[in-house]
């Protein structure tokens, strides 16, 4: 698969200026635009220029860069729009509310009583349920191979986009759920 661009993807069309937008940031890897139907005025979304449908496909160095940009935009929202707060919001997969098959990060300015709700009603789990999910997750996270120092340097220096190294099987697994997206 080529992550470069997708003809049918709305986000790719925004990046290539085939759909007009108000750009507020752009570099080699990423672009940020104003959401004109945002949850609040000033709601921005940040996206990689490469076409990655879901977060798992975005290489680590690009993830780092994208969230650094999101943080800068969040600070700019505080400083220039007088927001009382900001949310960074990512939806991976349809059940999580993802509506476009191109990974995006939302940065949302917040004010009291602005009609946005990102809260949840806590679920009551038994000790046993907690232990089960704990063990299952730990079993997966022991494979997380993060080398903090190396990664950090790479994020700042590496500008070349790198294609995702998912096996075909993994790709199918993760991309399957995105098929239903427009």
């Amino acid at each position: 698969m080529t992550p470069k661009s997708s003809e049918r993807c709305v986000v790719c069309q925004i990046i290539e200026s085939r759909i007009p937008s108000k750009k507020i940031y752009e570099d080699e890897l990423a672009m940020a635009v104003l959401d004109v139907n945002g949850a609040n005025p000033g709601h921005c979304f940040i996206m990689p220029k490469n076409h990655y449908p879901i977060i798992e496909q975005v290489p680590d160095d690009e993830i780092g860069r994208l969230f650094q940009i999101s943080n800068k935009i969040s600070v700019a929202i505080f400083e220039s729009l007088g927001a009382q707060g900001t949310n960074i919001f990512v939806a991976n997969g349809i059940p999580a509310g993802q509506t476009v098959a191109h990974f995006t990060i939302n940065v949302i300015p917040r004010k009291e009583n602005d009609g946005i709700n990102l809260q949840w009603k806590p679920k009551q789990l038994s000790e046993e349920e907690m232990s089960t999910v704990e063990l299952k997750l730990k079993d997966e996270t022991k494979n997380i191979g993060i080398e903090p120092e190396k990664k950090a340097k790479k994020t700042l220096k590496t500008l070349e986009p790198q294609p995702v190294a998912l096996s075909e099987e993994e790709e199918t697994y993760f991309a399957k759920q995105m098929r239903r997206l427009p």
Binding site: N37, G64, N71, N92, W120, L125, M130
Partner: protein
């Protein structure tokens, strides 16, 4: 998520303010840590179900989860809000968040995840320690986030967009032509310029934290943070 801190009385705030003024930066840091339940968790003084740990971050199961497997990803260093965090740590936190999301999709039979950060009470922040939530999602799981759609006028789009471009700094403007935005007040000049990530010296990093402190005081994160961020 733990409940908000108790409200402090006027008198207590004044006394605390006086006490904080006398503290050295080291004492201040120690004080913050003692006040913070999540720093206590990271130090192992309060029990938690740890899912992931490395030298910079600490991931635990939320005891009041949106869904089973909801992880709170904490920075080991005490930061109240995201703007205080150095760039390399930001990158690290979210690379781990991505890995946690991946672990959830593989390990606990869910079909999606949300990654959520709240900066400030208005954004729903309840703890005074920076937290990234990684929440496993399934169809009809009862989690109902509401993000309304508010259409903007073209003039508003231009005005807000240009304010943001201006605050992000001239160096990082898109190359296309853009209309100059005329600041409403001369105070505009006081807005600190963004530093390029690689140019962040120790001194600058300190400054950034101070700036964040100012922001903190504006958004009234909580009583203690307010005092720490004040003059």
């Amino acid at each position: 998520m733990p409940q908000e801190q108790q409200e402090l009385s006027e008198e207590q705030i004044r006394a605390l303010q006086e006490k904080i003024k006398q503290m050295s930066p080291e004492e201040l840091k120690e004080f913050q840590k003692k006040q913070c339940i999540f720093c206590q968790i990271i130090a192992g003084k309060v029990q938690s179900r740890k899912i992931y740990e490395d030298e910079k971050v600490f991931g635990i199961l939320d005891i009041n989860p949106a869904n089973p497997g909801h992880v709170l990803l904490l920075t080991k260093e005490h930061y109240s809000i995201m703007p205080q965090i150095p760039n390399d740590e930001i990158a690290h936190v979210f690379v781990v968040a991505k890995s946690l999301s991946n672990s959830m999709l593989r390990g606990i039979d869910v079909q999606g995840t949300n990654i959520i950060v709240a900066n400030g009470i208005a954004a729903g922040q309840k703890a005074q320690h920076f937290i990234t939530h990684v929440i496993p999602r399934k169809e009809n799981d009862g989690v109902d986030f509401v993000l309304p759609q508010k259409a903007m006028e073209q003039s508003e789009i231009e005005a807000i967009g240009n304010k943001l471009i201006s605050a992000l700094g001239a160096r990082e403007k898109p190359e296309e032509k853009q209309e100059a935005w005329i600041p409403e007040t001369s105070k505009k000049n006081e807005v600190p310029e963004f530093k390029k990530p690689e140019a962040l010296s120790k001194k600058e990093a300190g400054k950034e934290v101070k700036d964040a402190g100012r922001i903190l005081s504006e958004i009234k994160l909580d009583d203690i943070a307010k005092l720490l961020g004040g003059k």
